[in-house]
Protein backbone atom coordinates (compact mmCIF):
# COMPACT_ATOMS: atom_id res chain seq x y z
CA UNK A 1 0.00 0.00 0.00
CA UNK A 2 2.71 2.42 1.02
CA UNK A 3 4.54 1.65 -2.15
CA UNK A 4 1.56 2.54 -4.29
CA UNK A 5 1.20 5.77 -2.37
CA UNK A 6 4.85 6.62 -2.84
CA UNK A 7 4.77 5.81 -6.52
CA UNK A 8 1.71 8.00 -7.01
CA UNK A 9 3.32 10.78 -5.03
CA UNK A 10 6.39 10.60 -7.20
CA UNK A 11 4.34 10.68 -10.38
CA UNK A 12 2.51 13.69 -9.05
CA UNK A 13 5.75 15.38 -8.15
CA UNK A 14 7.10 14.73 -11.62
CA UNK A 15 4.10 16.44 -13.11
CA UNK A 16 4.41 19.32 -10.71
CA UNK A 17 8.07 19.63 -11.58
CA UNK A 18 7.18 19.62 -15.23
CA UNK A 19 4.72 22.41 -14.60
CA UNK A 20 7.13 24.52 -12.63
CA UNK A 21 10.01 24.04 -15.04
CA UNK A 22 7.68 24.59 -17.94
CA UNK A 23 6.59 27.92 -16.56
CA UNK A 24 10.21 28.95 -16.58
CA UNK A 25 11.31 27.45 -19.86
CA UNK A 26 8.55 28.09 -22.34
CA UNK A 27 9.08 31.12 -24.44
CA UNK A 28 5.95 33.18 -24.12
CA UNK A 29 2.85 33.74 -22.12
CA UNK A 30 0.56 31.47 -24.11
CA UNK A 31 2.86 28.50 -24.22
CA UNK A 32 3.64 28.92 -20.53
CA UNK A 33 0.01 28.35 -19.77
CA UNK A 34 0.20 24.86 -21.21
CA UNK A 35 2.42 23.42 -18.53
CA UNK A 36 1.32 25.79 -15.81
CA UNK A 37 -2.28 25.05 -15.26
CA UNK A 38 -2.72 21.61 -16.62
CA UNK A 39 0.27 19.75 -15.38
CA UNK A 40 -0.47 21.23 -11.99
CA UNK A 41 -3.96 19.83 -12.29
CA UNK A 42 -2.58 16.44 -13.18
CA UNK A 43 -0.05 16.63 -10.37
CA UNK A 44 -2.77 17.53 -7.87
CA UNK A 45 -4.81 14.62 -9.12
CA UNK A 46 -2.09 12.09 -8.51
CA UNK A 47 -0.91 13.49 -5.24
CA UNK A 48 -4.37 13.90 -3.80
CA UNK A 49 -5.29 10.36 -4.81
CA UNK A 50 -2.12 9.13 -3.19
CA UNK A 51 -2.90 11.00 0.00
CA UNK A 52 -6.48 9.79 -0.05
CA UNK A 53 -5.23 6.22 -0.33
CA UNK A 54 -2.80 6.75 2.47
CA UNK A 55 -5.55 8.19 4.60
CA UNK A 56 -7.49 4.96 4.21
CA UNK A 57 -4.93 3.05 6.23
CA UNK A 58 -7.29 2.88 9.17
CA UNK A 59 -10.49 2.19 7.41
CA UNK A 60 -13.34 3.83 9.27
CA UNK A 61 -16.30 5.87 8.15
CA UNK A 62 -14.50 9.05 9.14
CA UNK A 63 -11.40 8.33 7.09
CA UNK A 64 -13.52 7.20 4.17
CA UNK A 65 -15.36 10.49 4.22
CA UNK A 66 -12.11 12.38 4.46
CA UNK A 67 -10.76 10.52 1.46
CA UNK A 68 -13.96 11.24 -0.42
CA UNK A 69 -13.52 14.90 0.43
CA UNK A 70 -10.07 14.71 -1.12
CA UNK A 71 -11.67 13.33 -4.25
CA UNK A 72 -14.17 16.19 -4.15
CA UNK A 73 -11.23 18.57 -4.04
CA UNK A 74 -9.89 16.89 -7.17
CA UNK A 75 -13.23 17.37 -8.88
CA UNK A 76 -13.33 21.03 -7.99
CA UNK A 77 -9.75 21.51 -9.11
CA UNK A 78 -10.67 19.91 -12.40
CA UNK A 79 -13.57 22.27 -12.77
CA UNK A 80 -11.90 25.47 -11.70
CA UNK A 81 -8.39 25.10 -13.02
CA UNK A 82 -9.21 25.06 -16.75
CA UNK A 83 -11.61 27.90 -16.17
CA UNK A 84 -8.89 29.95 -14.54
CA UNK A 85 -6.56 29.18 -17.43
CA UNK A 86 -9.22 30.13 -19.88
CA UNK A 87 -9.74 33.38 -18.01
CA UNK A 88 -6.05 34.17 -18.15
CA UNK A 89 -5.68 33.34 -21.80
CA UNK A 90 -8.77 35.34 -22.62
CA UNK A 91 -7.30 38.27 -20.75
CA UNK A 92 -4.08 37.85 -22.70
CA UNK A 93 -5.87 37.93 -26.03
CA UNK A 94 -7.86 40.98 -25.04
CA UNK A 95 -4.76 42.67 -23.74
CA UNK A 96 -3.30 42.23 -27.17
CA UNK A 97 -0.42 39.92 -26.46
CA UNK A 98 0.80 38.36 -29.67
CA UNK A 99 1.75 34.70 -29.54
CA UNK A 100 5.34 33.70 -29.88
CA UNK A 101 6.21 32.20 -33.22
CA UNK A 102 9.05 30.03 -34.18
CA UNK A 103 12.41 31.68 -34.37
CA UNK A 104 11.69 34.62 -32.11
CA UNK A 105 13.57 35.30 -28.96
CA UNK A 106 12.32 33.99 -25.67
CA UNK A 107 10.22 36.56 -23.85
Amino acid sequence: MDIIVIVLLIIGLVFFTGGAVGILRFPDFYSRLHPAGKMDTMGSLFMLIALALFNLHHFTLATLLTSLKLIVIVVFVFLSSPTAIHGIVDAGVRAGLTPWTKGEKRR
Partner: protein, 276 residues
Amino acid sequence: MKILGLIIAVLTGTLLIYTTSDFPSWGDPSSPASTHLSPHYIEKTLEETSVPNIVTAVLADYRGYDTMFETTVIFGAGVACFFLLRVPRRKEPVERLYRHTLTGMTLRIKDLDEVPENLDEFERIDTLWAPYDLIIKTVCRLLIPFIQLFALYVIAHGHHSPGGGFQGGVILGASFILLAVSYDLRTAKERLREKLGGILCAVGVLIYAGTGALCLLLGLNFLDYSALASILHVDPITARSHGILIVEIGVGLAVMATMIWIYDNISSEGKYEEGL
Protein backbone atom coordinates in the same frame (compact mmCIF):
# COMPACT_ATOMS: atom_id res chain seq x y z
CA MET B 1 11.25 60.27 2.88
CA LYS B 2 12.92 57.06 1.75
CA ILE B 3 15.84 57.59 4.09
CA LEU B 4 13.56 58.50 6.95
CA GLY B 5 11.55 55.36 6.36
CA LEU B 6 14.68 53.26 6.24
CA ILE B 7 15.97 54.77 9.45
CA ILE B 8 12.72 54.26 11.31
CA ALA B 9 12.33 50.70 10.04
CA VAL B 10 15.89 49.78 10.94
CA LEU B 11 15.63 51.41 14.36
CA THR B 12 12.45 49.54 15.18
CA GLY B 13 13.94 46.34 13.87
CA THR B 14 17.07 46.74 15.93
CA LEU B 15 15.08 47.40 19.08
CA LEU B 16 12.94 44.36 18.47
CA ILE B 17 15.81 42.04 17.57
CA TYR B 18 17.66 43.19 20.65
CA THR B 19 14.74 42.19 22.81
CA THR B 20 14.04 38.81 21.25
CA SER B 21 16.90 37.34 23.25
CA ASP B 22 14.66 37.40 26.33
CA PHE B 23 11.91 35.42 24.73
CA PRO B 24 11.26 31.83 25.55
CA SER B 25 12.42 29.87 22.54
CA TRP B 26 9.99 29.01 19.79
CA GLY B 27 7.60 26.23 20.66
CA ASP B 28 8.73 25.90 24.26
CA PRO B 29 5.94 24.07 26.12
CA SER B 30 6.93 25.64 29.44
CA SER B 31 6.80 29.27 28.34
CA PRO B 32 4.49 31.52 30.35
CA ALA B 33 2.13 31.82 27.41
CA SER B 34 1.61 28.07 27.42
CA THR B 35 1.34 27.62 31.16
CA HIS B 36 -0.68 30.51 32.50
CA LEU B 37 -4.02 30.87 30.77
CA SER B 38 -4.17 28.31 28.03
CA PRO B 39 -4.18 25.09 30.12
CA HIS B 40 -7.48 26.16 31.58
CA TYR B 41 -8.95 26.63 28.15
CA ILE B 42 -7.60 23.36 26.81
CA GLU B 43 -8.62 21.23 29.73
CA LYS B 44 -11.92 22.80 30.68
CA THR B 45 -13.45 23.76 27.36
CA LEU B 46 -15.11 20.45 26.74
CA GLU B 47 -16.77 20.23 30.12
CA GLU B 48 -17.70 23.89 30.35
CA THR B 49 -19.00 24.50 26.86
CA SER B 50 -19.09 21.06 25.21
CA VAL B 51 -17.33 22.37 22.12
CA PRO B 52 -14.37 20.29 20.91
CA ASN B 53 -12.85 23.09 18.88
CA ILE B 54 -11.12 25.08 21.57
CA VAL B 55 -10.58 28.07 19.32
CA THR B 56 -14.28 28.36 18.60
CA ALA B 57 -15.13 28.01 22.27
CA VAL B 58 -12.67 30.67 23.34
CA LEU B 59 -13.59 32.90 20.44
CA ALA B 60 -17.32 32.85 20.90
CA ASP B 61 -17.71 32.20 24.57
CA TYR B 62 -14.78 32.94 26.85
CA ARG B 63 -13.83 35.94 24.78
CA GLY B 64 -17.18 36.38 23.09
CA TYR B 65 -17.15 40.06 23.89
CA ASP B 66 -14.08 40.50 21.68
CA THR B 67 -15.76 38.66 18.88
CA MET B 68 -18.87 40.77 19.15
CA PHE B 69 -16.76 43.83 18.57
CA GLU B 70 -14.80 42.08 15.86
CA THR B 71 -18.07 41.68 14.02
CA THR B 72 -18.85 45.27 14.79
CA VAL B 73 -15.52 46.31 13.27
CA ILE B 74 -16.50 44.60 10.05
CA PHE B 75 -19.92 46.19 10.19
CA GLY B 76 -18.39 49.59 10.86
CA ALA B 77 -16.04 49.15 7.92
CA GLY B 78 -18.96 48.31 5.69
CA VAL B 79 -20.90 51.35 6.83
CA ALA B 80 -17.82 53.52 6.41
CA CYS B 81 -17.26 52.27 2.85
CA PHE B 82 -20.87 52.91 2.02
CA PHE B 83 -20.77 56.32 3.65
CA LEU B 84 -17.62 57.27 1.77
CA LEU B 85 -18.34 55.98 -1.67
CA ARG B 86 -22.02 55.60 -2.36
CA VAL B 87 -23.15 58.15 -4.89
CA PRO B 88 -26.67 59.11 -3.97
CA ARG B 89 -27.86 60.89 -7.03
CA ARG B 90 -26.57 61.76 -10.43
CA LYS B 91 -26.42 65.37 -11.41
CA GLU B 92 -26.22 64.70 -15.13
CA PRO B 93 -28.91 62.63 -16.88
CA VAL B 94 -28.32 58.93 -16.62
CA GLU B 95 -26.78 57.45 -19.70
CA ARG B 96 -27.09 53.78 -20.34
CA LEU B 97 -26.02 51.42 -23.05
CA TYR B 98 -28.28 48.77 -24.51
CA ARG B 99 -27.21 46.17 -26.97
CA HIS B 100 -29.45 44.60 -29.50
CA THR B 101 -28.78 40.93 -29.06
CA LEU B 102 -29.58 39.92 -32.62
CA THR B 103 -27.67 42.52 -34.55
CA GLY B 104 -25.08 43.54 -32.02
CA MET B 105 -25.94 47.21 -32.35
CA THR B 106 -25.46 49.35 -29.31
CA LEU B 107 -27.93 51.99 -28.26
CA ARG B 108 -26.96 54.88 -26.07
CA ILE B 109 -29.91 56.12 -24.09
CA LYS B 110 -29.80 59.28 -22.09
CA ASP B 111 -33.13 59.45 -20.39
CA LEU B 112 -34.68 56.63 -18.50
CA ASP B 113 -38.14 57.03 -19.97
CA GLU B 114 -37.00 56.12 -23.43
CA VAL B 115 -35.99 52.58 -22.62
CA PRO B 116 -36.55 50.39 -25.68
CA GLU B 117 -40.04 49.03 -25.69
CA ASN B 118 -39.24 45.50 -26.68
CA LEU B 119 -36.64 44.87 -24.01
CA ASP B 120 -36.45 41.19 -24.78
CA GLU B 121 -34.26 41.92 -27.71
CA PHE B 122 -32.07 44.35 -25.88
CA GLU B 123 -29.72 43.71 -23.05
CA ARG B 124 -28.27 46.27 -20.75
CA ILE B 125 -24.49 46.38 -21.04
CA ASP B 126 -21.69 48.12 -19.23
CA THR B 127 -19.81 51.00 -20.75
CA LEU B 128 -16.71 48.86 -20.55
CA TRP B 129 -18.39 45.98 -22.22
CA ALA B 130 -16.78 42.62 -22.54
CA PRO B 131 -18.44 39.98 -24.68
CA TYR B 132 -20.26 37.10 -23.22
CA ASP B 133 -17.83 34.52 -21.87
CA LEU B 134 -19.53 31.17 -21.97
CA ILE B 135 -17.00 29.06 -20.12
CA ILE B 136 -16.51 31.28 -17.14
CA LYS B 137 -20.20 31.93 -16.76
CA THR B 138 -21.21 28.31 -16.96
CA VAL B 139 -18.54 27.03 -14.63
CA CYS B 140 -19.23 29.73 -12.09
CA ARG B 141 -22.91 28.97 -12.32
CA LEU B 142 -22.16 25.37 -11.49
CA LEU B 143 -19.73 26.15 -8.72
CA ILE B 144 -21.57 28.87 -6.85
CA PRO B 145 -24.17 26.63 -5.19
CA PHE B 146 -21.42 24.33 -4.01
CA ILE B 147 -19.44 27.23 -2.62
CA GLN B 148 -22.51 28.41 -0.78
CA LEU B 149 -23.24 25.01 0.64
CA PHE B 150 -19.65 24.67 1.72
CA ALA B 151 -19.87 28.04 3.42
CA LEU B 152 -22.97 27.00 5.34
CA TYR B 153 -21.24 23.76 6.26
CA VAL B 154 -18.31 25.74 7.61
CA ILE B 155 -20.60 27.89 9.71
CA ALA B 156 -22.53 24.93 11.06
CA HIS B 157 -19.49 22.81 11.87
CA GLY B 158 -17.39 25.42 13.58
CA HIS B 159 -17.75 23.41 16.76
CA HIS B 160 -16.04 20.30 15.49
CA SER B 161 -13.62 21.34 12.81
CA PRO B 162 -11.84 24.55 11.88
CA GLY B 163 -14.15 27.22 10.65
CA GLY B 164 -17.00 29.16 12.05
CA GLY B 165 -19.03 32.21 11.37
CA PHE B 166 -16.33 34.42 10.04
CA GLN B 167 -14.78 31.98 7.60
CA GLY B 168 -18.15 30.77 6.40
CA GLY B 169 -19.37 34.32 6.02
CA VAL B 170 -16.37 35.28 3.94
CA ILE B 171 -16.82 32.26 1.69
CA LEU B 172 -20.51 33.02 1.33
CA GLY B 173 -19.66 36.60 0.46
CA ALA B 174 -17.03 35.36 -1.99
CA SER B 175 -19.65 33.32 -3.79
CA PHE B 176 -21.66 36.46 -4.43
CA ILE B 177 -18.51 38.29 -5.44
CA LEU B 178 -17.79 35.45 -7.85
CA LEU B 179 -21.25 35.92 -9.30
CA ALA B 180 -20.57 39.60 -9.73
CA VAL B 181 -17.19 38.91 -11.33
CA SER B 182 -18.37 36.23 -13.72
CA TYR B 183 -21.64 37.87 -14.74
CA ASP B 184 -21.90 41.52 -13.84
CA LEU B 185 -22.70 43.54 -10.80
CA ARG B 186 -26.34 44.02 -11.68
CA THR B 187 -26.98 40.27 -11.79
CA ALA B 188 -25.44 39.86 -8.39
CA LYS B 189 -27.42 42.78 -7.01
CA GLU B 190 -30.57 41.24 -8.34
CA ARG B 191 -30.06 38.27 -6.07
CA LEU B 192 -29.17 40.31 -3.01
CA ARG B 193 -30.55 43.80 -3.22
CA GLU B 194 -28.66 46.68 -1.76
CA LYS B 195 -31.27 47.42 0.85
CA LEU B 196 -31.53 43.80 1.91
CA GLY B 197 -27.77 43.57 2.16
CA GLY B 198 -27.55 46.70 4.24
CA ILE B 199 -30.19 45.43 6.61
CA LEU B 200 -28.64 41.96 6.79
CA CYS B 201 -25.36 43.47 7.95
CA ALA B 202 -27.02 45.12 10.89
CA VAL B 203 -29.22 42.11 11.56
CA GLY B 204 -26.17 39.86 11.75
CA VAL B 205 -24.54 41.95 14.42
CA LEU B 206 -27.92 42.40 16.04
CA ILE B 207 -28.25 38.63 16.40
CA TYR B 208 -24.98 38.63 18.28
CA ALA B 209 -25.56 41.64 20.47
CA GLY B 210 -29.20 40.73 20.90
CA THR B 211 -28.25 37.30 22.20
CA GLY B 212 -26.02 39.04 24.69
CA ALA B 213 -28.76 41.42 25.69
CA LEU B 214 -31.22 38.55 25.99
CA CYS B 215 -28.90 36.89 28.47
CA LEU B 216 -28.86 40.16 30.36
CA LEU B 217 -32.63 40.32 30.40
CA LEU B 218 -32.79 36.74 31.64
CA GLY B 219 -30.91 37.81 34.70
CA LEU B 220 -27.32 36.79 34.02
CA ASN B 221 -24.39 38.81 32.77
CA PHE B 222 -24.08 40.14 29.25
CA LEU B 223 -23.27 37.33 26.78
CA ASP B 224 -23.60 34.58 29.39
CA TYR B 225 -25.18 32.02 27.10
CA SER B 226 -26.07 29.64 29.89
CA ALA B 227 -29.02 31.95 30.52
CA LEU B 228 -30.48 30.62 27.28
CA ALA B 229 -31.02 27.25 28.93
CA SER B 230 -34.44 28.28 30.16
CA ILE B 231 -35.54 29.23 26.66
CA LEU B 232 -34.03 26.33 24.77
CA HIS B 233 -34.99 23.77 27.45
CA VAL B 234 -31.53 22.26 27.68
CA ASP B 235 -28.91 22.15 30.38
CA PRO B 236 -26.70 25.24 30.73
CA ILE B 237 -23.65 23.63 29.14
CA THR B 238 -25.47 22.58 26.00
CA ALA B 239 -27.05 26.02 26.03
CA ARG B 240 -23.58 27.48 25.76
CA SER B 241 -22.90 25.29 22.76
CA HIS B 242 -26.15 26.35 21.11
CA GLY B 243 -25.53 29.95 22.03
CA ILE B 244 -22.21 29.74 20.22
CA LEU B 245 -23.97 28.41 17.14
CA ILE B 246 -26.53 31.23 17.16
CA VAL B 247 -23.79 33.74 17.51
CA GLU B 248 -21.81 32.17 14.68
CA ILE B 249 -24.82 32.44 12.42
CA GLY B 250 -25.05 36.11 13.25
CA VAL B 251 -21.36 36.60 12.50
CA GLY B 252 -21.73 34.73 9.24
CA LEU B 253 -24.63 36.88 8.09
CA ALA B 254 -22.94 40.11 9.03
CA VAL B 255 -19.63 39.20 7.43
CA MET B 256 -21.25 37.96 4.24
CA ALA B 257 -23.34 41.05 3.78
CA THR B 258 -20.47 43.37 4.62
CA MET B 259 -18.01 41.72 2.27
CA ILE B 260 -20.51 42.05 -0.55
CA TRP B 261 -21.20 45.62 0.47
CA ILE B 262 -17.57 46.62 0.46
CA TYR B 263 -16.95 44.88 -2.84
CA ASP B 264 -19.94 46.53 -4.48
CA ASN B 265 -18.92 49.96 -3.32
CA ILE B 266 -15.29 49.60 -4.30
CA SER B 267 -15.81 47.93 -7.64
CA SER B 268 -18.48 50.33 -8.81
CA GLU B 269 -17.26 53.47 -7.04
CA GLY B 270 -20.58 53.53 -5.25
CA LYS B 271 -22.66 53.80 -8.40
CA TYR B 272 -23.91 50.21 -8.37
CA GLU B 273 -24.41 50.44 -12.10
CA GLU B 274 -21.48 48.46 -13.33
CA GLY B 275 -18.59 46.85 -11.60
CA LEU B 276 -15.48 44.84 -12.18
